[in-house]
């Protein structure tokens, strides 16, 4: 044993070490999203205090808006961590809401959710296999898949919504609550926690990060990079499907466009949360908080009375600014 290897010393020394390590390894980058969340919350609390931003029902509303974004963001975190990207997630969310709505009537709430998740996993598998075996960048494969899945969703019920009348499904995945806590919030926490543990405590999570950081190095160490990239894309698509289940549960319908426009919001949430857009650095907790930031922005813009067209413009500008800011941080770190 060498003397240079730092053992766990007394607390102040340990704390100093921790800080030094943070500075050296990643800077304060991982904490930017928390600061941003606090600042935006504070800003809206002041300028929108007469518009009901701080009311319990509005805060609850933000939470409900954030839930599907956060679930998708956790999945996207793994895709980005592996240096892939999944642009098909919004369409997968929409198709999954329809599949869940279709299945739940005949086979019960669990089958509805399971079928939706299976649809996502299969789409992710196809994305992954084409990306890896045909050697097409995943952004192109999943962009094509976005079109295909959107088309299928539109064909499925002729652009009509499918109502969901299964009370168990609506309670578990949408309007229900455990005591005072909304089931959407519970699912968000469950998915976030699971994602965090998978990323940090499971071999697969570390391998995803390794493949994203340096694919040829990971391959040289015997990691099956094809399997890792395929399963990472399956994870993002399955998470998008689960977001579709939650949207269907909240709105009591399946529809061809549910969550379809969330793609950019999700990517912004993940990147603001500290995940590198090009692989090798990932934070699940950051992605969840980033989703709350995006939901707050959305909510704030609506409360400010912006028209839909102006909301679109404002959101686009904010996303580009936020991502640009966090990418600059990442390059410096």
């Amino acid at each position: 044993m060498t003397g240079d290897i730092a053992a766990g010393g007394p607390l102040p020394a340990a704390a100093r070490q921790w800080l030094a390590r943070r500075r050296q390894d990643a800077g304060l980058r991982p904490y930017v999203v928390y600061i941003a969340a606090a600042l935006i919350f504070g800003l809206f609390a002041v300028i929108l205090r007469d518009d009901g931003f701080l009311t319990a029902s509005n805060l609850l509303n933000i939470g409900r808006q954030a839930a599907p974004i956060a679930v998708m963001a956790v999945g996207m975190t793994f895709a980005l961590a592996s240096a892939e990207i999944d642009l098909s997630v919004g369409s997968v969310t929409a198709l999954s809401s329809l599949v869940a709505a279709e299945m739940v009537g005949d086979y019960g709430f669990a089958a509805g959710a399971a079928a939706a998740l299976a649809v996502g996993a299969v789409i992710g598998l196809v994305n992954g296999v084409i990306t890896v075996k045909v050697r097409i960048p995943s952004f192109l494969v999943t962009l094509g898949m976005l079109g295909i899945v959107s088309g299928i969703a539109r064909n499925m019920n002729n652009l009509q919504s499918l109502p969901i009348r299964n009370d168990a499904f609506l309670a578990v995945f949408g309007a229900g609550s455990l005591g005072p806590v909304s089931s959407l919030l519970i699912w968000t926490v469950v998915v976030g926690l699971a994602g965090h543990l998978v990323l940090h405590q499971l071999r697969w999570g570390r391998h995803v990060l390794s493949v994203g950081a340096d694919r040829s190095a990971a391959a040289a160490l015997g990691i099956n990079t094809a399997r890792i990239r395929i399963t990472a894309l399956m994870t993002s698509a399955a998470a998008a499907s689960f977001a579709g289940v939650l949207l269907a549960g909240r709105l009591a319908i399946g529809r061809h466009d549910l969550g379809e426009n969330l793609l950019l919001t999700v990517i912004a949430a993940v990147v603001i949360g500290g995940t590198n857009l090009f692989g090798g650095r990932a934070s699940v907790a950051g992605a969840v908080v980033g989703s709350v930031v995006m939901a707050m922005l959305n909510n704030g813009l609506i409360l400010m009375g912006l028209r839909v067209a102006d909301q679109l413009i404002a959101r686009g500008v904010i996303i580009i600014l936020a991502v640009a800011l966090s990418m600059r941080e990442q390059k410096e770190a």
């Binding site: 044993m1 060498t2 240079d4 290897i5 730092a6 070490q17 390590r21 050296q24 390894d25 990643a26 405590q201 499971l202 071999r203 697969w204 570390r206 391998h207 990060l209 390794s210 950081a213 340096d214 040829s216 190095a217 990971a218 391959a219 040289a220 160490l221 015997g222 990691i223 099956n224 090798g280 650095r281």
Partner: protein, 260 residues
């Protein structure tokens, strides 16, 4: 010669190894062997085929033709994973360390210990405590000094990164360790440490292949020298029987044809 004759058994024998990339013949009918307890230098100018040979042996490339024997048994090495399972560890020029992971994670990458019994093993639940303590032991045994095991690789110096890569190969390479320029870009003291590491591997009976451009290192630690030129083996000699100038002459092509 440095170790007992009993150790002088072939760990790895390759023959007729050829590999081409489109029009370029990177390796042309190369034969060589690595012996237990011996250090073999692999020499040659840039582009002579040294790294290609190492990558064929370590399963990164699959050769177009040729036979590879490990402990006398014919084997194919279709992937790095197979190479590692056969006891062949490699330190590539690029080191193959993963920047965002910490030192322990790099040492154990794709060799992780899991906890939680069969379910834990199936899920891949990492036993971080055990890996940390074994890492301390591995690095301590090799006298590799790293300020903190929890430091991510990107925060380490070039020498420390190299030390971790070599430590990983030494820790897992039970039989054969291939080192592609392990001391390039190192300071004097760190380079000396690498040589010490190579000696301790040799003394433990490991068959070592060392790619280097530094003739001093060849004469210091190597027993044999194999020289490649334009993909062909042009010399395979006892280091004790030649001078540094001879080796340089082989490398530059001024002298050819000493195949024992």
């Amino acid at each position: 010669m440095t170790s007992a004759a009993t150790a002088d058994r072939a760990a790895l024998e390759v023959s007729g190894l050829s590999k081409s990339f489109k029009a370029v013949q990177a390796l042309d009918d190369v034969a060589m062997d690595l012996r237990y307890g011996r250090v073999t230098a692999l020499l040659g100018d840039n582009g002579a085929g040294k790294s290609t040979l190492v990558k064929c042996i370590s399963g990164v490339y699959s050769p177009d033709s040729g036979v590879m024997r490990i402990n006398g048994a014919e084997r194919s090495v279709p992937s790095p994973e197979v190479a590692r399972s056969l006891g062949i560890e490699t330190v590539h020029q690029t080191l193959a360390v993963i920047d965002p992971l910490d030192v322990v994670e790099n040492l154990f990458l794709n060799r992780e210990h899991t906890r939680g019994g069969r379910i834990g093993a199936w899920l891949g639940v990492l036993d971080k405590k055990r890996m940390r303590s074994e890492s301390r032991e591995i690095l301590g045994r090799l006298d590799i000094r790293i300020p903190s095991l929890r430091r991510s690789m990107s925060a380490l110096s070039g020498g420390q990164r190299q030390a971790v890569a070599i430590g990983r190969a030494a820790a897992w390479g039970q039989q054969i360790v291939l080192l592609d320029e392990p001391a390039a870009a190192l300071g004097v003291e760190q380079a000396a440490r690498v040589l010490d590491l190579i000696r301790s591997l040799r003394d433990a009976g490991v068959a070592v292949l060392l790619i280097t451009h530094n003739m001093d290192r060849v004469t210091e630690v190597c027993d044999r020298a194999v020289v490649l030129r334009q993909g062909r083996k042009i010399a395979d000699v006892d280091v004790g029987s030649v001078t540094k100038d001879d080796l340089v002459a082989y490398i530059t092509g001024a002298r050819t044809g000493d195949l024992e």
